[in-house]
Symmetry: C2
Subunit: 225 residues, 2 copies
């Protein structure tokens, strides 16, 4: 089934796909620091020059990893969202499957974080280079909100996905620091956060709260920009 | 005036003080990456061995920098706090003087961030090694809250400093990314955040809101721990 797909690719496309697979495998098994263009070339059985032709730098390979992780997140989360129209349950599904998908990378998470955190880094999740991968997550959170049965004011619901994505990035930051077995503290933190959200969401309908809440959400959107 | 203080120091204490001064100067002028134990030894006119005796690694020098920056923050902010007993104005003073104190380091902020962000890093602001420096900031925020005239419930006021410090760290993170002239966007973000806080603080007295707010503050304390 996969082979027929492969056959329709040109030789150059096949080489690119192979390099990409080798890199994804290496990031997962060896981490960020140990994955080099030289190693990927060697493992794929092509020259360093050919590798550079397809992926000018290691950063381009990391972007492939981001796209792969986010696409897998989408593929796992979307079908699960069909099981409920409760907003908080749907958000729980998106956040939990997000953490699940990151699990294999936890041993190497500090390396990735150090390399990605600088505002100058082309693998910073908020960089222009990472925009296509981040867009997948934003769409996923928007789908979780839009498909839910909720009674949030429209102006709040529309602003929610950006804040939820920032929550996702901050949860991932906490998860990098989480040394508990299976990163269970991150899941507990998430559950507590969702419980508070469940108690707080109905309050968004109170006129007195709606303005500061809308302003806070605008502020969050500003932070992300 | 300074010399009489210096004269009472032993030779070893003087060497340590000189090394510390050279390092602080170097971090400020050359940044994190370019400041090395070798350079500090050379600039101070002592051997690398002597330098290692006083500061076993570059990380120990960064801790001196943290203490210096936080102590200077305290020294600038405390007298200014006397000018008002309004809680939000007092918080504004602490946040603004904090950003002002960081200004000279902005060109090198990405280097510092990359080196400090890993949970394994001994210069992570939340690491055990950095606890004494962080304690100064926590005390400063506690002083800002305790000396203010406010009508917050006791359980909320007591939990506030931890959340405010987390806000301080997140504001500093935003500031690292801020490429606007003089980092004016960070100050604008702060002003907007304070305006929202001013509108939202009275709501903490509403019984319906008090529980989710207290739970949210506990969650924040948990994140910091």
């Amino acid at each position: 089934m996969f082979s027929s797909e492969t056959e329709s690719l040109t030789k150059s496309e096949r080489t690119r796909a192979n390099l990409r697979e080798t890199a994804l495998h290496s990031f997962r098994e060896l981490g960020y620091d140990a994955t080099t263009i030289r190693l990927i070339a060697q493992e794929t059985g092509v020259s360093v020059g050919t590798t550079h032709y397809h992926f000018p730098s290691k950063h381009h390979l990391v972007q492939e990893l981001y796209l792969d992780v986010q696409q897998a997140h989408l593929d796992v989360a979307l079908p699960l969202l069909d099981s409920t129209n409760d907003l908080v349950e749907r958000l729980g599904i998106v956040y939990r499957t997000g953490l699940d998908g990151l699990a294999p990378y936890h041993p190497f998470a500090p390396e990735f974080l150090s390399a990605a955190v600088s505002p100058r880094s082309p693998i910073n999740p908020l960089s222009t280079e990472s925009a296509p991968a981040l867009a997948i997550v934003v769409d996923l959170f928007r789908a979780a909100v839009d498909g839910a049965k909720h009674s949030l004011p429209v102006d709040i619901a529309r602003r929610l996905p950006d804040a939820l994505v920032l929550g996702h990035l901050l949860l991932a930051l906490f998860w990098v620091y989480d040394r508990s077995p299976g990163q269970e503290r991150s899941f507990q933190l998430l559950d507590r956060g969702l419980r508070i959200l469940r108690g707080a969401l109905p309050l968004a309908r109170i006129p007195l709260l709606r303005t500061p809440l809308r302003e806070a959400l605008d502020l969050i959107a500003e932070v992300r920009a």
